[in-house]
């Protein structure tokens, strides 16, 4: 689904800022933040069906802060973000989904989780057969279904 309208420069700046607040870079796990240039470009390009609600979310963040989210100092951003999360609702869900779905498909993030950055098809995965002797006690049970008249 293509967005016929795009975020304003101010909205884009706020979105990047809140993405970084949501998922900051982390040296321990060697992962970028969601405000990383490549991840953020993916977020903006993938808003799709969530575009309107994300725009509402950005508007609400600005309203709660009394100015554009990106212009707030760090302490104020955290307070506004907490208030916004406490309100819940569709805009929060859309904003969260839009950031997370792109963050968790970035190659660097996937590698940090010990996974291969690839689509499932065509390689698939191996699923171990498991120990079917676990079924032995169930096999000995009497019939459980009810007889019907």
């Amino acid at each position: 689904m293509q967005n016929e309208i795009t975020l304003s420069a101010e909205e884009t700046r706020d979105l990047r800022c809140v993405a970084g607040v949501m998922i900051p870079a982390n040296a321990e796990f060697d992962v970028p933040g969601a405000d990383d240039a490549a991840i953020f470009a993916d977020i903006v390009a993938s808003l799709g069906r969530d575009f309107a609600d994300v725009r509402l979310a950005l508007g609400r963040l600005a309203a709660l802060g009394g100015s554009p989210f990106a212009d707030l100092d760090e302490t104020r951003r955290q307070a506004v973000a907490a208030s916004f999360q406490a309100e819940a609702g569709a805009p929060l869900a859309a904003l969260s989904r839009s950031v997370l779905q792109c963050y968790y498909r970035d190659d660097r993030v996937i590698h940090s989780l010990g996974m291969e950055p690839r689509p499932p098809f065509p390689k698939g995965h191996v699923l171990e057969q498991g120990d079917w002797s676990l079924l032995d006690p169930v096999r000995t049970r009497p019939k459980m279904w009810r007889d019907v008249p």
Binding site: Y104, D131, W132, V138
Partner: protein, 532 residues
């Protein structure tokens, strides 16, 4: 004008495909109209890196969010459970988990056995040969010998247990409760031109490998080779009737949006529990002012959706996650009525393998488990691929106030009135849900899971849309007779989930298809007297 056909089938999903294939051996001229497209394996999300994100977009289970131009909107604002479906050749079988339990014998006799709702006019024994035929056509993987069911023999071996299934199995053995590998329509060997499953992940939104059975790759190739015509991108607006009160055909919009009339000797409706009442109600006329086949007033009523709580927790090692089909095992320990409980009827426990990388993040963030800020990363790593999840398939009993009507405002892209859903979860079902949640928590604890959570109402319904044109012997208490023919219109048949009398506590596709084969077989046996 289009040439007359002997049989017009509306809808190419689970039931329409089965009916078309069965009737093909009559050599009648059979046409199926389908509002969606053929799907290609390369269309499915598992081909791309955005495969999980597309489950929230063009492969979302909600037609309202998906909003493809082949979809129609549904007003489900007045229901705690939202409608799930898919519109394409294969219908909902393109987008289902492929969990494939049959109804149980007791499910057809709930009035006699438990004093609630109504008995079906048919029974398990009547359907048994059609279950078996359908298992062969769809290709079922499973294991014979389940003590919860009368004997049957799935044609392929079951899906592997995997790490997750083994954990569940040990827990169930510790508790002394029944479990068995689920019957599924995911091929575990080569089968009728289908390749075996290679574990592409949770395959609800279609299988790029073609291992998961959907009727576009099972019934339809056989039906088309046998001479059935399938016309896509054809959205039916109404079924027409003649001066004798018989169905005369259908008016539909073709792929170019042009209104067409298709005359037919027999009309079979296969649009499932929302689409079928919508079409019948949209087919009102001076002769049938309350909608077609609706002298009972029951078209659209008794909607059953299967409330489906999900209970999940997290273990201390990575298990299967999304590296396999989500299906694993089932339990029927609490399926049959127990007079010591505070509810009648029962439920299936459906054990699933967890969830994917993106979906874990989205659902955990939505539930408040996954924080913003620096703690996000360490918290996520305690969740990722460590989830065990149990679904509780509760039997939903029929109640007339749960219904499908026509929305007075909302319309689809062709201007056809859209369906509106009014639905509440009954008290008996709520007690059943709480019982199931408590048992699932016991199981998860026995499996070593902590950090337990319960979602009492799933974000969307499981897409089980049942009961809105029920079958029965009494024309005042049912819409179709015991073999799917309308009481009011003698050449109009319904073969989908709308003809169910009660819902059982199982995923319905197996029984929907067995019923469709049974109705088609009944028609074939009565060809000379079909309209008497």
């Amino acid at each position: 004008m289009n040439e007359m056909v002997d049989v017009l089938i509306i809808g190419s999903g689970a039931s329409g495909a089965a009916a078309a294939w069965s009737l093909a051996d009559t050599r009648m001229r059979i046409l199926c109209l389908e509002q969606g497209d053929w799907m290609k394996p390369s269309d499915f999300p598992s081909n791309g890196r955005d495969w999980e994100a597309r489950r929230y977009a063009d492969f979302d289970i909600s037609p309202n969010r998906r909003a493809r131009d082949t979809d129609y909107p549904v007003n489900d604002d007045n229901s705690p459970m939202k409608v799930a479906n898919f519109n394409a050749v294969g219908g909902g079988t393109v987008m289902y988990t492929a969990h494939y339990p049959r109804m149980h014998p007791s499910d057809f006799r709930v009035r006699t056995l438990d004093g609630v709702a109504d008995d079906w006019p048919i029974d398990y024994a009547t359907l048994e040969p059609f279950f078996a035929e359908n298992d062969r056509m769809m290709g079922v993987s499973g294991l014979a010998g389940d003590p919860a069911y009368p004997p049957h023999q799935p044609p392929m071996p079951p899906l592997p247990l995997g790490k997750t299934g083994a954990r569940y199995a040990k827990a169930m053995n510790k508790l002394g409760w029944h479990w068995w590998p689920s019957d599924t329509t995911i091929a575990t060997t080569e089968y009728d031109g289908r390749a075996p499953c290679i574990n592409l992940g949770h395959c609800t939104p279609g299988c790029a490998q073609g291992a998961k059975a959907s009727t576009d790759i099972t019934y339809w190739p056989h039906a088309i080779r046998a001479g059935v015509e399938l016309r896509t991108r054809c959205r039916v607006r109404e079924i027409t009737t003649n001066e004798h009160g018989m169905a005369s055909g259908a008016i539909y919009y073709d792929a170019d949006g042009v209104e067409q009339f298709q005359p037919a000797e027999v009309v079979i409706v296969a649009c499932n529990g929302i689409g079928t009442p919508r079409l019948l109600l949209n087919s009102a006329s001076s002769r049938f002012p309350n909608g077609l086949a609706n002298s009972s007033g029951l078209v659209g009523k008794n909607l059953m959706l299967h409330p489906w709580p999900q209970v999940f927790g997290y273990v201390d090692e990575r298990v299967d996650g999304d590296r396999a089909p989500m299906l694993s095992i089932w339990s029927k320990e609490f399926y049959e009525t127990d007079p010591n409980r505070d509810f009648v009827r029962g439920y299936t426990l459906q054990f699933t393998r967890g969830t994917g990388i993106v979906n874990e993040a989205i659902t955990s963030a939505a539930a408040g488990r996954l924080p913003w800020g620096q703690d996000h990363h360490s918290t996520y790593r305690k969740l990722f691929h460590k989830r065990l999840q149990i679904g509780i398939a509760c039997e939903d009993l029929p109640e007339e106030h749960n219904r499908v009507t026509l929305d007075p405002v909302l319309k689809d892209s062709h201007g056809i009135p859209a369906p509106r859903i009014d639905y509440v979860i009954a008290e008996n079902c709520r007690r059943m849900m709480e019982h199931g949640i408590a048992r699932a928590e016991e199981i998860l604890t026995a499996a070593g899971a902590t950090n337990l959570h319960a979602a009492r109402v799933a974000l969307n319904s499981p897409g089980h849309l049942l009961g809105t044109a029920r079958m029965g012997d009494d024309p005042e208490r049912s819409v179709v007779n015991a073999w799917g023919r309308s009481h009011d219109v003698k050449n109009l048949f319904i073969v989908d989930g709308s003809i169910w009398v009660t819902s059982g506590g199982v995923n319905p596709t197996s029984t929907i298809q067995a019923l469709a084969l049974y109705v088609a077989d009944s028609m074939k046996k009565r060809l000379a007297t079909l309209f008497d």
